[in-house]
Subunit: 325 residues, 2 copies
């Protein structure tokens, strides 16, 4: 059996686990990232975490084949550099070289949304599919495109940033500098923004009362809760959210035509209340002739383990493809 | 040397040519399609045209390896069916079987925009690229996505309909049933619509005078001509056209991250007046970290031969991949 060490570098936590070639996690551990530190300190701690997980796991070191890291931002898996991250301080970090000083294993790196999509393809909601796009509805909207069980990240390894495709030209401002991106209508952040606006515009609403009862706290669940309590203001917020998500998913179908679209991230915990209307609308408006097989739109399955498993599976793919790590 | 017969089935003309494995055309011919006829009659004439081109070419029949057809709409290259076309009457036409009755050669079929993109990848503006998207600015907006010299058309062979990704939710109505698609802002049809509207709103403009001088005729060149004559009304029309095209091309980059975007179709004949501002704006707003290689946005090169060459190259790929034809 071959095992791989997967590391999920996040803005808050850094997680690591030992994963087999089927995507099963044998043991895992995590540390706080403390994102505002020097990039070399963060990488050093990642190495210490990796060694700790290997030691704790009990699997002989020579059965561990490679290390994979899923990181935010842009990395270069040829040179082994973490080129740029938004929330963290990484700038042209030679992370493969640094890891080689600590652990003598082939080392690979990819984008966190891309490896999460690979995890869904290898062991999750898109298992067995020819192609899939995994959309993560979190602080932002992450997107990863997998074809034939390989991440498709384009000629420069910088794709696919599906969350930054504009669906409302001139619309709400996005952190990427454009206006009207998928992300600014379908992220948890967008839903919080629209929930807050609607509550202010309708002080008499159940939604506003719910927020007051929670001392002003609003999150991605707030409008769903008020909707279930029968509040029309909240229903309108959710209706708009679902409508915009369906519009963007129809765009994903028409541009990428994946066999499976897996929806993950915090908002996906709403389950069928979100999934069913979004699926119906997205498939109804996608460009699909009558007798053509339709993409399956489903909830993602890998949850918080997507990063670890995906990073490990990415390392496995790189080894199979003979890439230098 | 291997030769392939490429057929470009269009709403007005049907073209056929003998093409070598480098994408060079040796001879070609065409007939009127007469689109409102029975689908079997059209296919019979396609076969007659194919035989005529083979006879006229002088290349021995046993050096012609396969036939490829690029057709509008949706086809199934596994079953050999032309499933559905919008402008033509095809509905579940067993076109491979019909061709086999006429010509004893392996037969393959694909979407016309997809094979045109393959032609650019094999022998045109995207030659040598790892991946490319070819966008055709014509009556509609056609899109084809090529990865590693193979058409990417998704798990159901029905992708990629990039022209039907929404960029203005709730915007202008599109023939696909949605509103605000790439196509309804960037096709020649869209430019004619906006040119006509602007001329009506500004009867004093050079643009309006130009249209009156042409007995009311408007086409994709009209606003460009009036702009070059210094007309601010026409300049505003072109500015809007370029802005929307740049927005959609930035979406293509963020969703598909191709190494090359090739722009073809009637409007692309405007050359640098179109290409340069669109390229600058699309690259400036795409999600690309500073030191990341950027896609090349260029004019397509294959012109009216794209369909014949692409259909032939598709047939070549299918033979290489061992697909049953």
């Amino acid at each position: 059996m071959h095992y791989y060490l997967g590391i999920d570098l996040g803005g808050t936590n850094t997680k690591a686990g030992i994963v087999d070639d089927q995507g099963k996690i044998y043991c895992k551990d995590s540390i706080k990232t403390f994102a505002d530190r020097d990039q070399y300190e963060i990488v050093h701690d990642m190495g210490t975490l990796a060694k700790r997980v290997i030691d704790a796991c009990g699997i002989p070191f020579n059965e561990i084949t490679a290390i994979g890291v899923g990181a935010p931002g842009t990395s270069d898996n040829v040179t082994g550099e973490l080129i740029f991250t938004g929330n963290l301080s990484f700038r042209h970090m030679p992370i493969r070289d640094e890891f080689h000083k600590m652990i003598d294993l082939p080392f690979y790196i990819g984008n966190d949304a891309n490896v999460a999509a690979l995890a869904e393809s290898k062991a999750g909601a898109a298992q067995g599919s020819q192609s899939s796009v995994t959309i993560t509805l979190g602080t932002g909207v992450g997107g990863g495109f997998v074809i034939n069980n390989r991440i498709y990240s384009g000629f420069n390894q910088a794709g696919c940033e599906i969350g930054h495709t504009v669906v409302v030209a001139g619309g709400e401002p996005c952190t990427c500098g454009r206006r009207g991106c998928f992300e600014v209508y379908s992220s948890a952040t967008a839903l919080v923004r629209d929930t807050t606006r609607a509550a202010k515009a309708h002080p008499e609403s159940i939604l506003n009362q719910l927020i007051l009862d929670n001392l002003g706290h609003v999150d991605g669940r707030t409008a769903f809760i008020a909707m279930r309590a029968g509040d029309p203001t909240a229903s309108a917020v959710i209706e708009h959210y679902i409508e915009m998500l369906a519009e963007s998913l129809a765009n994903v179908i028409n541009s990428c035509m994946p066999e499976v679209i897996a929806i993950g991230g915090g908002i996906s915990h709403e389950g069928d209340a979100l999934l069913l209307p979004v699926r119906d609308r997205a498939l109804a408006r996608a460009f699909l002739a009558e007798n053509i097989a339709k993409p399956r739109i489903v909830l993602a399955k890998m949850g918080n383990d997507a990063g670890i498993v995906g990073a490990a599976m990415m390392a496995m793919n790189c080894m199979e493809d003979g890439l230098i790590g």
